[in-house]
Symmetry: D3
Subunit: 272 residues, 6 copies
Amino acid sequence: MFYHEPELQYEVEVEEPNPYFAKMLQQAIGGVEGEMRVALQYMFQSFAVPSDKPEYRHLLMETAAEELGHIEMLATAVTKNLEGAPEHLREEARENDAVIDAMMRGGQPRQALSAGLHAMPVDSNGVPFSGNYVVASGNLAADMYANVMAESTGRLLATRLYEMTDDAGMKDMLSYLIARDTMHQNQWLAVLEALEDHVPVPASFPQEKENQEYNYTFMSTFRERHEDPEMPWTSGESFDGKSEFSFGYQPGGGMPSVEKTIEEMHNEATDR
Amino acid sequence: MFYHEPELQYEVEVEEPNPYFAKMLQQAIGGVEGEMRVALQYMFQSFAVPSDKPEYRHLLMETAAEELGHIEMLATAVTKNLEGAPEHLREEARENDAVIDAMMRGGQPRQALSAGLHAMPVDSNGVPFSGNYVVASGNLAADMYANVMAESTGRLLATRLYEMTDDAGMKDMLSYLIARDTMHQNQWLAVLEALEDHVPVPASFPQEKENQEYNYTFMSTFRERHEDPEMPWTSGESFDGKSEFSFGYQPGGGMPSVEKTIEEMHNEATDR
Amino acid sequence: MFYHEPELQYEVEVEEPNPYFAKMLQQAIGGVEGEMRVALQYMFQSFAVPSDKPEYRHLLMETAAEELGHIEMLATAVTKNLEGAPEHLREEARENDAVIDAMMRGGQPRQALSAGLHAMPVDSNGVPFSGNYVVASGNLAADMYANVMAESTGRLLATRLYEMTDDAGMKDMLSYLIARDTMHQNQWLAVLEALEDHVPVPASFPQEKENQEYNYTFMSTFRERHEDPEMPWTSGESFDGKSEFSFGYQPGGGMPSVEKTIEEMHNEATDR
Amino acid sequence: MFYHEPELQYEVEVEEPNPYFAKMLQQAIGGVEGEMRVALQYMFQSFAVPSDKPEYRHLLMETAAEELGHIEMLATAVTKNLEGAPEHLREEARENDAVIDAMMRGGQPRQALSAGLHAMPVDSNGVPFSGNYVVASGNLAADMYANVMAESTGRLLATRLYEMTDDAGMKDMLSYLIARDTMHQNQWLAVLEALEDHVPVPASFPQEKENQEYNYTFMSTFRERHEDPEMPWTSGESFDGKSEFSFGYQPGGGMPSVEKTIEEMHNEATDR
Amino acid sequence: MFYHEPELQYEVEVEEPNPYFAKMLQQAIGGVEGEMRVALQYMFQSFAVPSDKPEYRHLLMETAAEELGHIEMLATAVTKNLEGAPEHLREEARENDAVIDAMMRGGQPRQALSAGLHAMPVDSNGVPFSGNYVVASGNLAADMYANVMAESTGRLLATRLYEMTDDAGMKDMLSYLIARDTMHQNQWLAVLEALEDHVPVPASFPQEKENQEYNYTFMSTFRERHEDPEMPWTSGESFDGKSEFSFGYQPGGGMPSVEKTIEEMHNEATDR
Amino acid sequence: MFYHEPELQYEVEVEEPNPYFAKMLQQAIGGVEGEMRVALQYMFQSFAVPSDKPEYRHLLMETAAEELGHIEMLATAVTKNLEGAPEHLREEARENDAVIDAMMRGGQPRQALSAGLHAMPVDSNGVPFSGNYVVASGNLAADMYANVMAESTGRLLATRLYEMTDDAGMKDMLSYLIARDTMHQNQWLAVLEALEDHVPVPASFPQEKENQEYNYTFMSTFRERHEDPEMPWTSGESFDGKSEFSFGYQPGGGMPSVEKTIEEMHNEATDR
């Protein structure tokens, strides 16, 4: 069950509103690397943890709630960047409204047309958030790798946004979000460390059931066969410590045999 | 530049065709955990590696080419599962065509209606593959975590499919694909090991620019404040070895101040 | 800023797990009439309310937080319906695992394949939640109509689900959710009443700028012209009390004139 | 059965072509607030009205046919805005073709690349129209609220477009479309008035089956409990006249109990 | 400008309602091969034809209006198939409502949950119609090939549906729709014949600007080079009569050189 | 099974990097007319060809492999266009980084934010590639028309891109791709010629089962009935040579009869 407090989680100030930056911020709200994704991802992962593992249920849900607050911060930042445009932008604008002009020229006109100059659950390309961005597999180790990945691309996004703005307010907010991504990467990696011996994921599948000839072989697919380049992934102990890497080629499994399908499908033209 | 050989990468046999299993296999083709995703993901990641790092460009592209062959294997498996239905299924069917009956009752009618009983670039729910499943961030460490995640959820999917079939041919094919996922998890983790000191990703962003107060603090968001539970993510050395985990609460950043937007947006009803 | 409490908002019990009903419940989670939509819709609407109208900001956010709790309840209900299948279902199943069998035959295999028998942010057809379901226009009156609509289709969905189950636990949970939808319809309609004189939305646009000939005329488009049927929308005072309804036909605006586009578009075949 | 007449429904002139405005107009064609949505929505709603209620079937279909004509008008407007660019735009353009330049810089390049400088069934962000925008619930009252909402956000969109252009032709066309939205809001509200006593929707569900404790209570979710603010939605008669509003808090339903799922799902890492 | 007549274009009867067939019919409404696609495709193509070619504008629009009537017929068929279930289906049903049971077991629960047992703008997999199915390129020859393709896959779909039903009413309706697809294939091919000399499309691009070495060569990409198989596409006069087919291999264009991107992108991990 | 060679299929040079053109090129990668679509389309079509027709299986797969190489070329072109901006663009830029500025102003910010200035599997509007672009019907004739259409719109796109750039390197690459599209149009048309007598598609459906009254009649839907315009599609021999074109009107099929649906759907408001 959720609660809200009207204060923001961290302060959000914009010194010089920039409607183009408002568009960029959308990636951190509704983009695949954004806060809606992680908030919902941790939430759905938490829902799937069995009740006898409350430490993981809570860990995931506490961070989900934190991420909901980041959506709120970023939406506030979008509004503040759209509220007005600095004088020098206004001057060079064709019409006397620089914000509307930016909407028309830039690639996110729906911030004006659909949302009245506010944030939306879409990414910076204008594409709506999709439920399929959320990874919640039911397997904790797989989920943790999904989370490290989400926080890695998320922190990367935040640093790129940081580089693109000179606004002190925006830099301060992003420096907070970057810090949180540092923590979140660390916390999910700490869980993986606590799980130990989870590779290959899922660890519960008996490895003797997997094909024993090709489970630790790097498979080269260059047209011209080349020698084992002796890289850390073609020789030496495998990462999971369970075997040795080797180097090889695609085995080849014979020609596929595909029959004609039943007549009612009217695939006829294929067999004249 | 790509080449093809008409042989399959590994043999694909189906002893007893099962149209319901054909539907399940679609997840491994066009699903978010499937082969289209990894083939394209490794391909786009490879395109982004600078030319002076050919070992990573090639590693990614060689595995991309391997995964293209997995799409081919799985598509063959779908066709073979749809080619006919075993006698006992036929008998219990309302009409004398068990396959069409399964199409109508089950959830993937387009395998018949749109594809004439063949594979499609959609998932097992019937939802089309999306380019947004592909993660290729330009940053090798972030990409590697995306790859470990893809192979973790991919192997998890393959083991679940393995448990759902009794067909010896399908079990053999899946045992090969599971083995390859084992290798791929290991190879991407081996790359991460080779990169060292890459956490937090991206490592090139100077950490002194991130907020120093909240970058290693687990942020509890329970409504009722509770004590530090002393978990591996609330105390002790942080995973990246650069600090100590601590335990805290959301800082609070004051009330958000949001102005009225410009008049032309006609947001009037908000201010009566 | 958000907080969470591990207790559910209202109790969720399932007496006889039913994997088919789990699929139906997905509509109330990730469907266009579902809880993810209203939670996010009220949240984004709240973000857009100016700070000098805190009563609306809070009203929207308090209900958003309530709806987040409904996602949690429904996800719990999905898991409980998938945890096992009643004996009589098991007996009629082809294989000895009724749940997996239901996954294969029914239309939501990803609940098993992607989520390990748990809830997902998708609808009952298996289609992922889309950010474009969220309506947050920046105009409070338009938003309130969107909310009444969301709660009307939402309550309709909940009553249909109520009719489809015999499970006492599910009926109790749904009776709670139906009650909340009753309240939410009432509260948004109460806001509209408080706004008064808001039709036509947006009320701030000066009506003298709209075409005065066609703003209160029902436009009949039947091929064979028919007489004014004297319905409440073709005659009498208009709903907004600002004019009289009348009855008429499409005015006709002349033939469209469309030039050839510039040569570089290579639209040539159109002009031979 | 449908018929067409080559004349436009209302005249469409553009005095000074503006490729940026062409992009904005796409929102009114293929956007969630656009004409494709309402045309199809009223059509599908009409299909679902029982034959013994022809007045509603016809009302919906007549307006659907009108909206089809609006798509035609707007598509004509898009083409006319792309046909050429005014001289002053041409001069400031990098290359000597201002239209193509606008395509390259602005956010809707597919108007040139895919459509040869014509309209497309996409929104102003470039996102394709989705069948999931259409609301046709089978319940007339719910559908009417969906229609009022569609015409409210639609009229809001049209007024925002009106504010963004100085072109007399475009202003005239928009003033006609705004007028039609005024009528349509009025006509759907007139239907709701005719239906009376339809709140809460659906009215046919016996209210005694809904939870009696929480169906008229505003549920406060602020972290810090606060007093009843005595707003029109927390006290006094409820909007539907069937009860009194009250003010309260989330009831709390105990800890969710979630079991481990069956072994074949390989969710193992969750229970170490 | 559009008109409607309440009569259907062709009669629609269902002798024995079948909810599973209702699901299949959705493919012909909202699927990529369905009537919404062709209706909108011909409409948008018509919008783009210059006014001095009224014969093509009208041809396209007249057929668009016809296809709108097919949506109406198919939606009526869906409703009639969902109105009730035949007795023998009812008997074998778990509960006493066969239709709801079919909704729960089959793959299109939203026909009940969202639409109250009516048609929806989605396909038979439950996926919503997308504006990106519509092809309207601005070039008439390209559009005509798109139309022949649409009517080919559309007729194929209709024949597959025809084979899947024993219902005399449904067979009669489908036999009408199949006949119309025959006509439409013929009419678009007749336009192509009238255009002559339009291959390669677009014919207005001067062929001397295209690479002269590779414009009529079949490019073999087998890993093992093989001989010219002397097929109608590797030797002899080319289809367009402008050259001779030849047989060859991929030219090879040197190693791609990709630089490091600018520092602010933080792609650092790639260059250790 | 697939192989790769690190060389490009054809050389890719960019003389003057242009970030706006990089955005345009995305249409040729992930757009509906792009290379991902044809590569996957030919691949899935090939999977569906029965083994006793190897000439078609191979033809399709060889061209699929060629198209994969085009994705690689175009992705290289995108990177090269984003690597830097020419001096004169830099000068007029607000900040000293013209590329990032172009990202912010233009409509494809994710090329920077998500991909670190590299190619993505999305179109030029920023919309992700969709599996539903792929047409693989199981019927070879229908597939061939889909392929002619894909190569027609593909070549059209390439010529439009050619017209939009002055860069000699880009023009050379596009002149190669345009040439390949010429060949591919010719090769698919050559297959159709080899199939002969395949219209109407599918030819295996007995035409005597289709409605004999309306299979060769052009159906006029103008509101005002007009005379047969004596066009090549209203009179004379039909394209398939099997009948004569005639000219007529919509037959009319009586009023649709739609019953009330079952009570549990709560569609009540429709019948007051």
